[in-house]
């Protein structure tokens, strides 16, 4: 059961697709081998909240039948994992929260439906920070995920289950969501590729909302090529998402092989200042030098307001979260407190019991910044600063094609190190949040190691320029081997 001598779990989607096509193995055999591997590895990693063994085997059998009938979809029989923020009909969908511990989604998210229609086989639902609020996976009601590079370390978050599972070779691809860096930061911390598309590029329908003007679905893979393959299926207009944008989806996979000769790469001074671990900075500078050796040119770009991106985010995101999470009332779905005497007590206790500390903190922050007397000073002010930051990006993209820098200020940190100080935790996303505020696409690509832990190169491009990001990442991976590095215990 091997193709090209390499174990199935070690192969990319591109390699697995070729093996399936040639009949080297079946979709059922592939799903069985990965499910067995998950069964062994996940007791330590805790990357999954639910493993969908029966559903996966049934989907794999269908994929084999479809192939035999000449009706194979673009992802036919390829195994994936969904972050547990995506609604999956008939399967528990928890969003990492006690609030939804008993919630079985009555419908599929558009992303889930599209990937299923393409023939993908879902192995399970990945662990995550509660309601995607966190940068370490430690806010999950289901316990922290462990980083396969070192089990004492965090895999990042909020899509930490997805990043850990892909890094540990439990699946070649996993969906994620990114509100302030929740795909790109965990990808950086686990040595995987993570892309957050343009706001509105991928449907948010059925993706449990955190901050609706910032949330975007994307994917974590090991290669840019696989990210292109996945995004090509996931992207596109959806009339069920009122913020979905009707913009043609290019052939991402077809475009990645073009050269990056002449690509203009912008460097932002603040991305390399005191907040950055100097050794991470070296890896990122080496990666930028590699891009130059491939024909790219670098330009320094000025972003005078970028330093305000984290405080702006921590007004806008909690404000939207406080509004979105008001739907959890203990009545129609979700956790319900027992023996409440009246309706007010039912609401307050169901929410008090169902939400964890970080989620409560963000709901309260949001309630405060939206409350009478404070709205102008905080929410309105933040939306104005957000405009200034978006304008900084707009001006930068008049002169450059991508902005390159570090994804995260440090490599992975120890579980427990940052969880008691919200501000320290929030600053993990200092380099990624700007793209969310401006609605821009961003990607993190593995670019080396510091103290045996992976480092990510972060690239941001103009609206709808995912193609440029994927091409740049693909070309970089054609000339480097960082993405082939595998944690020792998962080889």
């Amino acid at each position: 059961m091997s193709s090209g001598g390499e174990q199935l779990y070690a192969q990319s989607m591109a390699e697995l697709a070729a093996g399936l096509e040639q009949g080297d193995f079946t979709s059922v055999e592939l799903a069985e081998s990965l499910l067995a591997r998950i069964g062994e590895a996940d007791a330590k990693l805790n990357a999954f909240i639910t493993v969908t063994v029966d559903e996966a085997l049934a989907a794999a059998a269908n994929a084999d039948k479809a192939r035999a009938a000449g009706k194979a979809g673009p992802l036919n029989g390829l195994p994936i994992i969904h972050k547990d923020i995506f609604c999956t009909r008939g399967v528990k969908t928890t969003c990492g929260s006690r609030m939804l511990d008993n919630f079985v989604a009555p419908y599929d998210a558009t992303v889930v439906a599209k990937l299923a229609a393409a023939g993908a086989v879902v192995l399970g639902k990945s662990n995550m920070d509660e309601f995607a609020m966190g940068s370490s996976n430690e806010t999950s009601y289901f316990g922290p995920v462990r980083n396969p590079w070192n089990l004492e370390y965090s895999p990042g978050g909020s899509s930490g289950g997805s990043s850990a599972a892909v890094a540990a070779r439990l699946a070649p691809a996993a969906t994620g969501t990114d509100t302030g860096g929740s795909i790109r930061q965990p990808a950086a911390l686990t040595g995987t590729v993570g892309i957050k598309p343009t706001y509105g590029r991928v449907s948010r329908y059925g993706m449990i909302a955190f901050a609706s003007s910032l949330d975007q679905a994307g994917v974590i893979t090991r290669t840019a090529e696989d990210a292109a393959r996945m995004l090509g299926v996931m992207a596109g207009f959806d009339e069920r998402d009122s913020t979905s944008i009707d913009h043609p989806v290019p052939d991402y996979l077809g475009g990645i092989s073009q050269s990056i000769e002449g690509l203009r790469v912008g460097i932002v001074r603040q991305h390399f200042d005191d907040g950055l671990d100097p050794k991470c900075g070296e890896r990122v500078k080496e990666a930028i030098a590699t891009l130059e050796s491939l024909g790219a040119t670098t330009v320094e770009v000025d972003m005078p307001n970028i330093d305000l991106s984290v405080p702006t985010y921590y007004v806008v995101a909690p404000a939207e979260c406080s509004s979105n999470l008001s739907r959890f009332d203990g009545v129609r779905f979700g956790h319900r407190a027992e023996d409440a005497d009246d309706l007010l007590e039912l609401y307050c206790r169901s929410r008090g019991e169902g939400f964890g500390d970080e989620v409560k903190r963000r709901i309260m922050t949001g309630t405060y910044v939206l409350s009478a007397g404070y709205y102008d000073a905080y929410y309105l002010k933040a939306q104005q600063v957000r405009h200034l930051i978006a304008d900084d990006f707009k001006k930068a993209f008049a002169d450059v094609d991508v902005i390159a820098g570090p994804t995260s200020p440090t490599p992975a940190f120890r579980l427990g190190d940052k969880i008691d100080d919200p501000i320290t935790m929030y600053l993990n996303d200092i380099y990624t949040i700007g793209a969310n505020l401006a609605g821009l696409p961003g990607i993190s690509v593995p670019c080396g190691f510091v103290d045996d832990l992976p480092v990510g190169l972060h690239l941001v491009a103009a609206h709808f320029a995912e193609e440029t990001l994927l091409r740049c990442a693909y070309q970089y991976q054609q000339h480097t081997d960082w993405h082939k590095a595998c944690p020792e215990d998962y080889q």
Partner: protein, 95 residues
């Protein structure tokens, strides 16, 4: 500025969150650190800057007012803790 425990209690009530005494003590401390942090925004010169509501400045799209969903009430209600005759039950609201 600094948030008092009474202010935090009022915020928790507005947000419909019941907190324990220990959670209040922790919340006062951490919410104050967050508020101090976001206070940096006051330094920004935002005269004549339009607040940004949408990252791509798109306007809200409206769909045609047609029935497009099927009635799945029974299936949806499986997620509710208490239902009766197709209705969701809550504690008595009218004496």
């Amino acid at each position: 500025m600094s948030l008092s425990k009474d202010q935090v209690k009022r915020i928790a009530m507005l947000a419909r969150l019941e907190l324990t005494e220990a959670e209040y003590a922790e919340s006062v401390k951490k919410l104050n650190s967050i508020v101090d942090f976001v206070d940096q925004l006051s330094q920004a010169d935002t005269r004549d800057v339009v607040p940004m509501a949408h990252p791509l400045h798109a306007t809200q799209r409206l769909r045609a007012d047609d029935v497009t969903e099927t009635d799945d009430r029974d299936y949806f209600q499986k997620n509710a803790a208490t239902v009766s005759d197709g209705l969701y039950l809550v504690p008595k609201v009218i004496e």
